[in-house]
Amino acid sequence: MNSEDPDGDLVRRVGEGDVHAAEALVARKLPRMTALAQRLLNDRTEAEDVVQEVFLRVWKSASAWRPGAAKFDTWMHRVAFNLCTDRLRRRREVALPETWDAPDPQPLADAAISAEQQSDAVGRALADLAPRQREAIVLTYYQELPNREAAALMGIGVDALESLLARGRRALKARLEGTDD
């Protein structure tokens, strides 16, 4: 198997029906895929649906997996990312009521808050970002993909990725510090 792909050997064993390898792959990738889907979708149940679908595809493809240009982790990211963006697209097709307002995140500077509250506030601010900014930040910061991989996944160039990242970070800071009005 591909010696440069850290998941290559595990995937080969999964394809041979090795249950221990499947468990190891799940232990390695399930938290990562769940975090990706949850941050992109901001919905736990939908994220779990996506993750199950991703792994169904992994189980189907494992025996046929051959080392190629993409690493297995990148392929999994692409599957999960596409499933999430499909769901987000369907959500956008459902018109929001005219009176709908995005919830205001609690400005972090206003009060001493718990780590949990802080996490919730950042989660809401992330959810309020423009979708492409959120995708760029999630892939680069939380999933820790190299810039070229993140850009390729989003179908853009590295320059465009950097622009989305910079705007997303500024917007996030403004919302969390209550300076975006």
């Binding site: 029906g17 090795d18 680069t140």
Partner: protein, 138 residues
């Protein structure tokens, strides 16, 4: 190592934050050298670091045990693969049996055809009985 100036460093930090590990690999050394040598870099890094801290305050709950179990239940196992292979061979066997049945049928038809032809020929050789004549003879 690529060239690095204040503008590029500013863009780099605005996009990737204050942690060098996240900076593009081909610019990392130059950016780190710039950060050490230019005092203006310090303010940029401090600002970026505060945004990094906000970003990493966000935590996602670990996947539930139920999800983990459901995912693992779908994994291929040797038994399932063997079952799948058996099913494949059974399907192939049935297909071959069907095909050989058809072949046998064709062969039988082919074998019978000359007989039919013979019969036809034979029947042509035998003059049609003229019952009326026989009856008349009796």
């Amino acid at each position: 190592m690529t060239d690095m100036d204040l503008n590029r460093f500013e863009d780099l930090v605005a996009a990737y934050g204050a942690t060098p590990n996240r900076w593009p690999e081909d610019e990392r050394d130059a950016a780190e050298a710039f950060a050490r040598s230019d005092p203006r870099a310090r303010a940029l890094l401090a600002d970026a670091d505060s945004i990094d801290a906000l970003l990493f305050a966000h935590k996602v709950a670990e996947p539930s045990r139920t999800l983990r179990t459901m995912v693992i239940e779908g994994a291929p196992t040797k038994r399932r693969l063997t079952g799948r292979a058996r099913l494949w061979w059974t399907t192939l066997g049935l297909a071959l049996a069907g095909a050989s049945g058809m072949l046998a049928g064709s062969a039988a038809t082919a074998a019978l055809e000359p007989v039919s032809a013979n019969v036809q020929l034979y029947s042509q050789d035998v003059p049609a009985l003229d019952y009326s004549t026989e009856e008349n003879a009796q």
